[in-house]
Symmetry: C2
Subunit: 257 residues, 2 copies
DNA sequence: AAGCAGCGTCCTGATAGTTTGGACGCGCCC
DNA sequence: GGGCGCGTCCAAACTATCAGGACGCTGCTT
């Protein structure tokens, strides 16, 4: 691990919706480094377009993020398939559909399709990042990691409490992940957001590796009323996506890879 | 300029729609560095989420790009204003409207709104990156840099020929940029794409700095028929955006910065 | 109005991380 | 089955990075 690259990552970590601009002094204080080092990192990141220099020497995320985002879309074969399926699901059950993947131990929402009567989910716009120990998709993706990997992730990011229902005990989480592996689905009962529940199922690629997860979210009341149906629906949907991923031949056109 | 950060930038530069995956050997060859160094850079970038490790040790753009994209949106005050204006323009004249900014010497398309009869513009989806010496927005943004900066940009990225009309002579470009500064608008007459022309005008922030450009693109035939009207329209539109940027008080609500 | 405090920026020597080249194991193609 | 190419990993040589301080500036206080 190159230390300079690690510092680049730590600086990017500092940015969120409340902190859209940062100066050298602020960065130096938060990361416990010298001001000159912070300044050098910021100017260098600005030169490669990751950051952008504002009036007055403060730095915000650069336009290059837009072009990078464009490159992400193409190289994940599951993404267009999952999106098409999410659209069908949203039309079918009217709820909020999420597609998420694991990135550096955290959950990234890759896609989001609201249904007609979908619940407002404030924390999960596309690109939003959440810890993996809560949320249906998070626990599900975590459950399909190597056991050693799970510990690394938990050590790295901790187990913050988001609601009274969040699982913050490591042994309890182990048990939960075991259940998830056994059942093939993960439930989130108000662990992320009070009043909001969801059920998630895994999307496996052609090699059987879990590369993403899809979920149906709904207000807890409506969710419990339809729990069985939603569970069956999400499992069918993700298995459908996995089937398409396993089948490289579509419409008689052979894969050209 | 931190060398390691520069290398991160050079690796990101290697990715485009045709090269969505790269391995250490490929990177080492293209950047003339040792394979072990390329490998170390790739793994480090993967650890901070900029890249993502595929099956078989190849690396593609990571999910973090999605979350970064989300952070770009908020911190450019002109962006929502320009978008609203672009929507009005597209409805009004029916053509393709672009909003672009300069990033590390290249043009990044920040927004794109197609009108009802808009021409298909294949090269300019949001996040697309183009050299600055061609295209209306590119020349316009270039024209408002410091003269020394212009040379730096041209030295860095060259002046590739995209169509027979592309300006590839440096003196000719200087003259063109001078005209653009004088007239306040930049024309692109098939310099990027045969059959496609556009007119661009600058968006200036409260300090008078040109932070972005907006353009109306159309098939050359229709464009020349409406040239005067389009020019007046885009100038009015960008001045309208600039006026809103200069006025921190909107609807009687004082700015809370 | 002058002084002060805080910020971003830049410079130079001391240091520690980066770079290199090679060796290993693996899968693929011949 | 053998060879080739790839991704991965290791230890020493070296070069870029790091820390501390000084400068100019802006905005605020006294």
């Amino acid at each position: 691990m190159l230390l300079t690259v690690q510092n680049v990552g730590r600086i990017l970590d500092l940015y969120d919706l409340e902190h859209a601009e940062l100066g050298p002094t602020e960065v130096a204080a938060k990361l416990a480094m010298s001001k000159s080092k912070a300044h050098l990192l910021l100017t260098s990141m600005a030169e490669i377009g990751l950051l952008r220099r504002n009036h007055g020497g403060r730095y915000c995320i650069g336009w290059r993020a837009l072009s990078l985002e464009r490159l992400v879309a193409g190289n994940a074969p599951f993404r267009p398939l999952a999106r098409a399926m999410a659209l069908r699901l949203a039309r079918h059950c009217g709820e909020m559909i999420h597609v998420a993947a694991l990135d550096a131990g955290r959950v990234v929402y890759v896609d989001r399709v609201p249904g007609a009567r979908a619940a407002k989910v404030p924390v999960s716009s596309v690109g939003a990042v959440l810890p993996a120990h809560c949320s249906g998709v998070g626990k599900l993706l975590l459950a399909h990691l190597e056991p050693a990997e799970i510990d690394v992730v938990l050590d790295q990011h901790g187990m913050a409490r988001l609601t009274p229902a969040t699982i913050c005990d490591r042994e309890a989480l182990y048990a939960e992940l075991h259940r998830i592996r056994r059942d093939g689905v993960a439930f989130d009962r108000e662990e992320v957001q009070a009043g909001l529940s969801c059920v998630a199922a895994p999307i496996a690629d052609a090699d059987g590796n879990v590369v993403a997860a899809m979920s149906i979210s709904a207000p807890t009341r409506r969710f419990t009323d339809n729990e069985g149906a939603y569970r069956a629906t999400i499992v069918n949907a993700t298995e459908g996506v996995a089937r398409q991923l396993r089948a490289p031949v579509l419409d008689g056109v052979p894969d050209v890879s």
